[in-house]
Subunit: 154 residues, 3 copies
């Protein structure tokens, strides 16, 4: 069991099965010493945990919960590309897209749900650069979509 | 003629002239072994093929057609940076921004228009990691904007 | 004083203090020969210069002014990661997210506010690849968010 999976277990979390692509793309790709991960939705057992919009039918806490689940799916995707998550050196970049109406302002709080879990797992190396952006809508009425870029040990 | 252009010809497609930047930026840049391509709009002969929003005045099929045209423009931009498209090793990342109202859910179907063409050209190496995101609007009322990152042979 | 800071001074501009992260992330990271900078908002002295939406309560000129301020903050973030801004080789990629209603079309004009300043500072190396995308809303009701990727001298 990888160190990352041990950390997840200690947090009471399980690595889900690798996400299936929702179209003609790859969930993750290892290219040189970078692992690019496709935008992840908050799927659990094949269904979205929540649907809708932050600041409309969903609370910040539900948004954070969705963001954490996106990270678990991103790690599962990375594992299928890397074989072992302990090859991850650090999180370089995290893009958090939040489905929301025009008056929503708390994108960063939602994205912190992702950053918090990454920091619990990877420590300081789990703090990426980040963008947080509001989307008019997201695939399948998902409230959150998160894209991650990892650097991989040489 | 490059292998990529032969593939396009066999598909009944032509590489358009390289897109002009719509502002102070470069359509594509080769940096190390990566070719970064600016967000492309569905221009044909200097005009947008469609304007408006998916899930409003445009059908999924029109969105896919727009996405394919963005890819042709991205390849033309890449060619101007690379000299020869056969230097492309694989598509690493594709970001599909889809202009749509809040109830649109089929972003991935639109983005598949791009992925399908890339796969027809590059085979398995044409399947990138991907994000699909809804935008409140896009430049010039474009329905789709697509950004691509290629890895280049060493 | 770095060459970049001299250029800023000649333009009548000052490098602000490095932006504080608005959550659990890093304002900038140096990884190999890339400097990734988090999405920057138009903060000046700890307050957003403008709030709201382009094409609604804000003019193109106010959007460009916001974009320029994002660039100053991005440079300050990069300086804290690099020590010296003269290590920057070129701007590879700029992502401009513009908060706007569905009928806004001038994203590229707003993004040009950023590109113009980068070109004034870095010359041709300040012209990046670029995406310009409309957001339903941005963090803290910011009108603009800009993400930048720099290549760093070897």
């Amino acid at each position: 069991m990888s160190f990352v999976e041990e950390k997840l277990q200690a947090l009471g979390l399980d690595l889900p099965p690798p996400p299936k692509a929702a179209g003609l793309y790859r969930p993750a790709l290892l290219v040189g010493n970078h692992c690019w991960v496709s935008g992840q939705l908050p799927f659990r057992n094949g269904k979205l945990l929540y649907t809708g919009k932050l600041g409309s039918n969903l609370s910040i806490e539900q948004g954070k919960e969705s963001a954490r689940l996106c990270i678990l799916n991103a790690l599962a995707a990375a594992q299928s590309a890397l074989g072992n998550l302990d090859r991850i050196e650090r999180v370089i970049r995290l893009a958090a897209f939040v489905a929301c109406p025009e008056n929503f302002q708390d994108h960063a709080k939602v994205a912190d749900g992702a950053s918090e879990l990454l920091t619990q797992i990877f420590g300081a190396h789990g703090q990426p650069t980040r963008i947080s952006v509001g989307a008019s809508s997201l695939p399948l009425n998902s409230p959150v979509e998160i894209e991650i870029l990892f650097s991989i040990r040489g």
